[in-house]
């Protein structure tokens, strides 16, 4: 097994509407993929040791490589805001003795250890990506069934994912929601497909846009919290795309934390802790690309949450509160001049 780190760069908007891929043997930064409202430049490949697979950071050199190669594919790349950079580790499997991460196939490897190593009753499935997980499950289950003598056909590939059971045309849907901008309805439809029916009701909640970059309404957030097993704001982001637009949660993070406790997803003080976690999670991806407008955005977000909201000056209820702020007024009451000040103020 090769743990191979791959980094990606996310660009503020869709600079391309179709995948642009460089025709050369796989190398760093040779593909730009549009994904919902953004474009992704990927990826790098860097072998790392096992002890580092949990503390991942995107290096400045990787960013430079991605930008340089991305620019060759689409020149706008360099002039557009990079929203985030993130990385993950691929569990690459060198089945035929490759020594370089790049040369190993990203395909799926299904190993029957009975045939391979004489270990009966053990199967390994490896490689692949989130996109191919259902196929991997199918292959694994098929092999297991074969061994167990189960004849039943696998039906995974026939079951549509939730929300895509029926195709609904955007046009007809948009007409149903007069008063809500098409951009909001269209975005919800793109994310939730048929579930739109349960989300977009003629309720005031749907007229309240919480995430203004990705057009997530209060109704969609309520649906996610109550129906889609959302436990914290990072979950909520994965379900709705809040905080994934250019502002990276500057306005919507606070709103979403407020709604999370309103809809019963967390206690009020817990929701503030979750808000902090969420912003820290956003920061992980923002800091490697902290220049230009990204830095401006980060500064602004910092002003709001630290400067205005004092998020890290929150008291921990369990600890003894002995910060001196409370003494300001206490001391003042003992102050001889206090009465005079009060009179002056009145």
């Amino acid at each position: 097994m090769f743990p191979s780190k791959g980094s990606m760069l996310i660009i503020d908007y869709r600079i391309n509407n179709v995948v642009v891929n460089r025709c050369r043997p796989p190398a760093d930064g040779d593909i730009i993929v549009p994904g919902d409202t953004v474009s992704l430049i990927g990826t790098t490949s860097k072998e790392i040791s096992y002890d580092r697979i949990n503390e991942l950071t995107v290096d400045d050199e990787e960013i430079e490589v991605l930008l340089r190669d991305g620019e060759m594919l689409i020149p706008n790349v360099r002039h557009t805001r990079a929203l985030r950079a993130y990385c993950g580790v691929r569990p690459l499997l060198a089945v035929t003795g490759e020594t370089q991460g790049r040369n190993i196939s990203r395909g799926i490897a299904l190993l029957d250890h009975h045939e391979r190593d004489g270990l009966d009753g053990m199967i390994t499935i490896a490689g692949g990506k989130l996109m191919t997980y259902r196929l991997m499950a199918e292959k694994t289950a098929d092999l297991a069934c074969e061994k167990l003598g189960v004849k039943k056909e696998c039906s995974t590939h026939l079951i549509p994912l939730p929300g895509s059971e029926k195709k609904i045309s955007r046009k007809s849907r948009i007409k149903d929601f007069t008063g809500i901008p098409d951009s909001v309805v269209g975005s919800t439809l793109y994310r939730h497909g048929q579930r739109l029916h349960s989300i977009m009701t003629r309720d005031k909640k749907n007229y309240r846009v919480i995430c203004e970059c990705e057009m997530v309404t209060e109704g969609e957030i309520e649906y996610a919290i109550k129906k889609l097993e959302v436990k914290d704001l990072v979950d909520l982001r994965r379900r709705t795309r809040i905080g994934m637009g250019p502002c990276q949660g500057e306005l919507c993070a606070y709103r979403a934390s407020g709604l999370l406790q309103e809809f019963g997803g967390a206690a009020p003080d817990e929701s503030v802790e979750l808000l902090k976690d969420f912003l820290e999670e956003r920061w992980k991806g923002m800091k490697p690309v902290l220049w230009g407008d990204g830095l401006r955005e980060a500064e602004f977000t910092y002003w709001i949450y630290q400067g205005l909201f004092g998020i890290s000056h929150m008291k921990d209820g369990k600890k003894k509160d002995n910060t001196k702020i409370d003494n300001i007024t206490e001391e003042n009451t003992n102050n001889k001049d206090n009465k005079k000040i009060k009179r002056k103020l009145k």
Partner: protein, 400 residues
Amino acid sequence: MIKIENISFDHCIKCTVCSMYCPVSQATHLFPGPKASGPDAERLRIKNPELVDSSLKFCTNCKRCEIACPSDVKIAEIIQNAKWNYLKIHWFRPRDFFMSRTDLVGGMATLFSTIVNFIIGLAIVRVFMHVFLKIPYRTVFPAYEKTTFRRIFKKELRWSQSEFSKKIIYFHGCYVNYNNNRLGREFVKVMNALGYGVEMKKEKCCGVPLIANGYIEKAKKNALYNISSLQKGNNESKIVATSSSCTFALKNEYSSFLELDNSGIADRVEFATKFIYNEFLSGNIPKMKPLGIRAAYHSPCHLERMGGVMYTLGVLKNIPGLELIVLNSECCGIAGTYGFKKENYDISLSVGKNLFTLIDKAVPEFVITDCETCKMQIEMNTKYKVLHPVTVIAMALDRK
């Protein structure tokens, strides 16, 4: 692929300041505000052009959002561009067609001005326009002149202009040509008093109403005509205009909106008050008699966007005996042809309400403003007469 010049939305920090200063979203819930309609929705429209909203039509293009924006996002431009895409689908609208052809309609109307002015004043005609053309019943159209300014200039004014060695080129615009000949005469008088002779080149409507109504190809044609016409012959003189919107189009929008090369004229085009201010500054101040007038000044949105208000104020402060009350910057709500449409009429009035109250509170004798459509709106909705700064200078020159 998206051009690099057109990605100013990328600089948006989502600070919400633009929405705060938008006069339209204050007046109506139908407009989602400049932030939502502009930079926010632009990303989605790039993803899927179908996500264009009909609510875009409520934008008056007053550009107050751009003045407010700390990130230099061309919010109004983004909205206008998206609006055009929306209008492409709904291309034939008889009212908008005639409203945006100010030179075509004006040219015909001045020929039969007495009849036209009479007819559009008739109640039955206004009911017809209200129902079929969706022009609000209560709108008072500016009256058409009996002749055009060009004819007057040719007949009466042209001859004396050769006495002056210094020249300027006057871009009169449709309003002076068809609706307000007097302002043209006054402009010539003021220029002569400053020692400049006035020349005129052939011109077509600058294109502002065409741009506003989404007739981009026609606007481009007009723009190309004007650019080449203004460069013919005398190539050094300043091109001076009395309409702030025409100036903005010639100077900025031809290149920024219509993507045409106006570099041959952009630096030479000057709004009247800026030109006069610079003359005043260099000591060229004609003799003016004290006016003894109390007037309120309203700064038009487009002039503010051009950074031209300080020049107008500078000029007005030099006029003796003019007691000037500078009104807080508010939008009058007319926004060119916007307020002349039935669906916008109430919004337009609601936007302008603040301004009308300010004017009433100031109790002036006159209101001064640089823009012709602001003038119409203020005259329709307050009891005050509205003067152009050039008119005020001409008055001071005339005083005996």
